[in-house]
């Protein structure tokens, strides 16, 4: 352990919800997208799932909202070290979408892509079982464009770069393909509890 002379740090809080190396950002919600925030109206938004599925399909705004509503209340964790507690997202469970397209047995991984062309890769298992959503609302209001509105992927148990903003679709694959940050040195899975920040962690 390399102790830094004279460094004490913030008061210690016994917070079992805080993954290693993270701090509580409080009310802040930093925006870290690398691209220009797109001007995307709900009427122009679509979400598609294809690849290794039985019935590929595209949902528009109305069709996606016709699926059962589902909420996430909990925490989110960004690879740049901030965590945000007690956030409230509204949307639809990804299970509801996947049930309609029926993934094939060979499907193991997913590339999620945005209307900006941003990509991120995930194991399919991280998107099922009530652990992932398409989110339309934050704290009871429409999701702001800079936070991915009108709709973003939400996978709160992984670092937040996996929760692609302005979500456009999922491609199911039988292998892993690195997305944008993953090609720029970031970890393939990004589990905050194992501090999987960078490739090799």
């Amino acid at each position: 352990m390399n102790v830094t002379r004279g460094f004490t740090g913030r008061p210690r809080v016994d917070n079992p919800g805080l993954p290693p190396g993270q701090y509580d950002a409080g009310d802040d919600w930093p925006v870290l997208s690398a691209e220009v925030t797109p001007d995307l109206a709900p009427a122009d938004w679509t979400f598609r799932i294809d690849g290794l599925v039985e019935r590929p399909r595209t949902w528009d705004w109305e069709q996606a909202h016709a699926l059962p509503a589902s909420a996430y209340e909990g925490d989110i964790h960004c690879v740049t070290s901030w965590s945000k507690f007690g956030v409230r997202f509204g949307g639809v469970s990804l299970d509801a979408f996947l049930d309609e397209v029926r993934p094939q047995a060979a499907a193991t991984h997913v590339v999620a892509y945005s209307h900006t062309g941003y990509t991120t890769n995930l194991p399919l298992a991280d998107l099922t079982g009530g652990r992932a959503w398409i989110a339309f609302a934050y704290d009871g209001a429409p999701l702001a464009p800079e936070h991915g509105g009108p709709a973003r992927l939400l996978v709160p148990h992984l670092y937040f770069w996996k929760s692609a903003k302005w979500i456009a679709g999922l491609r199911l694959l039988d292998h892993d393909e690195p997305g944008f940050w993953e090609q720029n040195g970031y970890h393939a899975r990004g589990n905050p509890w194992e501090e999987q920040r960078y490739s090799g962690d």
Binding site: R5, A34, T80, G185
Partner: protein
């Protein structure tokens, strides 16, 4: 999507799946997983005050693998009880073979890491760094660069300006840098004809006061360098949204705008 390889490239697997929309910000370089994973000891060798709120910290990192202008690193401080705090910081210095790198840090109110640097740190102190990280904001010095920063958002852009100067590069480079006033302008003494400062609260006599506008961008975009500008925007989210919107409205292609936001 990685389109430019450099000697530090350790892997660059092409993505077989291409989304219907080409990504607005194709990668510039791939990052070596080796250098990104290993914590190295960095020894503080010099502190230089830049403004009342910002100072430059020069660090000796003997095994530094080298970086490209625009890249950042992760820095870690460790307390007696094992508590650690880590933050991403842009690298201010140009790549060189001095075995040193420089960071310029704002003194953030309540910031446990920047607070330590500004109130405790002195030459000889040791911290830990890992990197360089993230290739998307890197500028290898190949394309005309239009740099727009605010506050300490100028730090990664200054690495590009210094690189451009140190190598005597012929490729065009322009910097628009926004600060509250002349006393808050980081690196004020270093700027040359490539730089236009924008002052938002107070300015020297004869210089207008106000935020970045389309009028600042127009003459630069009108230069139309061969191959077009690659725009790099760095600052708070509010500034980044404002500047990137101005760029798009002025005709800069969305896929030629790279944004690094504080946070």
């Amino acid at each position: 999507m990685t389109e430019t390889s450099t000697s530090q490239t350790a892997f660059a697997p092409p993505t077989a799946f291409t989304p219907p929309t080409r990504f607005a910000v194709p990668g510039r370089i791939a990052v070596s997983s080796g250098t990104a994973t290993v914590w190295q000891t960095a020894t503080l060798t010099e502190i230089r005050r830049e403004t009342p709120h910002a100072a430059t910290f020069r660090l000796a990192v003997p095994a530094w693998a080298g970086h490209l202008p625009g890249q950042h690193l992760m820095l870690r401080l460790t307390a007696q009880d094992g508590y650690t705090a880590q933050r991403h910081y842009s690298i201010a210095s140009a790549p060189d073979d001095s075995g040193h790198i420089e960071l310029t840090l704002d003194h953030v109110a309540g910031g446990e890491v920047s607070g330590w640097f500004h109130t405790v740190a002195e030459p000889g102190d040791e911290v830990e760094v890992r990197g360089p990280l993230s290739g998307f904001f890197a500028w290898p010095g190949d394309r005309p660069a239009l740099l727009i920063g605010a506050g300490s958002g100028v730090v990664p852009l200054m690495s590009m300006v210094r690189h451009h100067r140190a190598r005597g590069l012929a490729v065009p480079l322009r910097l628009l840098v926004s600060a509250r006033g002349p006393e808050e302008l980081i690196y004020a003494r270093e700027y040359g004809t490539e730089t236009t400062p924008v002052f938002t609260r107070s300015a020297p006599a004869g210089v207008p006061v106000g935020r970045l506008t389309a009028a600042h961008l127009a003459p630069l975009l009108a230069e139309r360098p061969t191959g077009g500008w690659e725009a790099y925007v760095c600052g708070s989210n509010g500034f980044a949204e404002h500047a990137s919107r101005l760029l798009v409205e002025a005709g800069q292609p969305v896929d030629r705008i790279r944004i690094e936001r504080f946070g």
